[in-house]
């Protein structure tokens, strides 16, 4: 139960941060990617988020284990492979095309915005397509 409450609380901070920083506004996101009329807002958000996480993770990883779990669940892959690069390129293309990525789209759809809801349904379809693809080509 504590584990779930913790996840809910972390999600809450995340969602509040996304709205406060205007990252649920796709024009801000596309503005960051638009070199012809550049908007630095997203860069400031990333700086605040990554800087805080950099320090936070260092402090947390002095521990042997997390508070409510018996071990840390961290990614183990280290290779730069084609999957990573192609997937990231496809992701980035879609990110620029709509101005939404998964976190802001979920948050904005949850508070009743229409465009991110449409985007999110297509995102789920894309994610399901990936599941089918992975099952057919391991």
């Amino acid at each position: 139960m504590a584990k779930l409450a913790a996840a809910w609380f972390a999600g809450g901070l995340f969602g509040f941060g996304l709205v406060l920083s205007q990252m649920i506004d796709p024009r801000r996101v596309q503005g960051f990617l638009d070199l012809a009329a550049w908007d630095p807002t997203l860069l400031l958000v990333i700086a605040g988020a990554t800087g805080t996480t950099l320090v936070g993770y260092r402090i947390v990883q002095r521990r042997d284990r997390p508070v409510f779990e018996d071990r840390f669940h961290l990614p183990t892959a280290t290779k730069l492979d084609g999957r990573l690069l192609l997937g990231s390129a496809l992701f980035g293309a879609g990110w620029g095309m709509a101005g939404y990525c998964p976190g802001p789209a979920l948050t904005a759809a949850a508070i009743g915005f229409i465009e991110p809801l449409v985007f999110l349904l297509a995102l789920l379809a894309g994610s399901l397509l990936f599941d089918l693809y992975r099952r057919s080509a391991p």
Binding site: L4, A5, A6, A7, A10, G12, L13, F14, G15, F16, G17, L20, S21, Q22, P26, Q30, L33, D34, A36, L44, V45, A47, A49, T50, T52, G56, I59, V60, V67, E69, R71, F72, H73, L74, A77, L80, L85, G87, S88, A89, L90, G92, A93, G94, W95, G96, M97, A98, P102, A110, I111, E115, F119, A122, L123, L124, A125, G126, S127, F130
Partner: protein
């Protein structure tokens, strides 16, 4: 959305970083939204509940911020439906294939100094810039 909201952007970013830190400290998990979402409906039994709780939190935090009057000007309308759908498919498929999105690679992965996440962030930012340049030049959208 005139002007650059410097304080809101930085403090919102700090909250996102705190969220990632809290999730690792308490539950030992990385705050990557595409991975959390993918495992919330697929994934293993017993590994789903915390994901659903996190996503519910995302919605709750968003609501709280909206009630506080922070999201009022953030909704866009009239964007081409076909682009939204194509973009969603690309983001859904690409983030799973590439094992992460803006949060997992861009925030958490870079904070872990992961070379994979740094490469992913570079690639998706460049791809996004190319597509946005295309939208501006070809479709005169922005």
């Amino acid at each position: 959305m005139e002007g650059i909201p410097v304080i809101a952007a930085l403090s919102g970013g700090v909250l996102i970083g705190l969220a990632a830190t809290v999730l690792l400290l308490l539950d030992g998990r990385i705050a990557g939204i595409s991975g959390i979402l993918g495992g919330a409906y697929g994934g293993q039994r017993g590994d789903r509940a915390w994901r659903v709780a996190f996503l519910a939190g995302l919605a709750s935090g968003g609501w709280l911020a909206l009630i506080a009057g922070l999201g009022e000007t953030a909704e866009r309308s009239g964007y081409p439906l076909g682009l939204l759908v194509a973009a969603g498919l690309l983001v859904g498929f690409g983030s799973r294939l590439g094992s992460g999105c803006t949060s997992g690679h861009g925030v958490c992965g870079i904070a872990r100094l992961s070379p994979r996440s740094m490469a992913a962030t570079l690639v998706f930012t460049l791809a996004g810039m190319i597509v946005v340049a295309g939208l501006r030049l070809a479709l005169d959208l922005l």
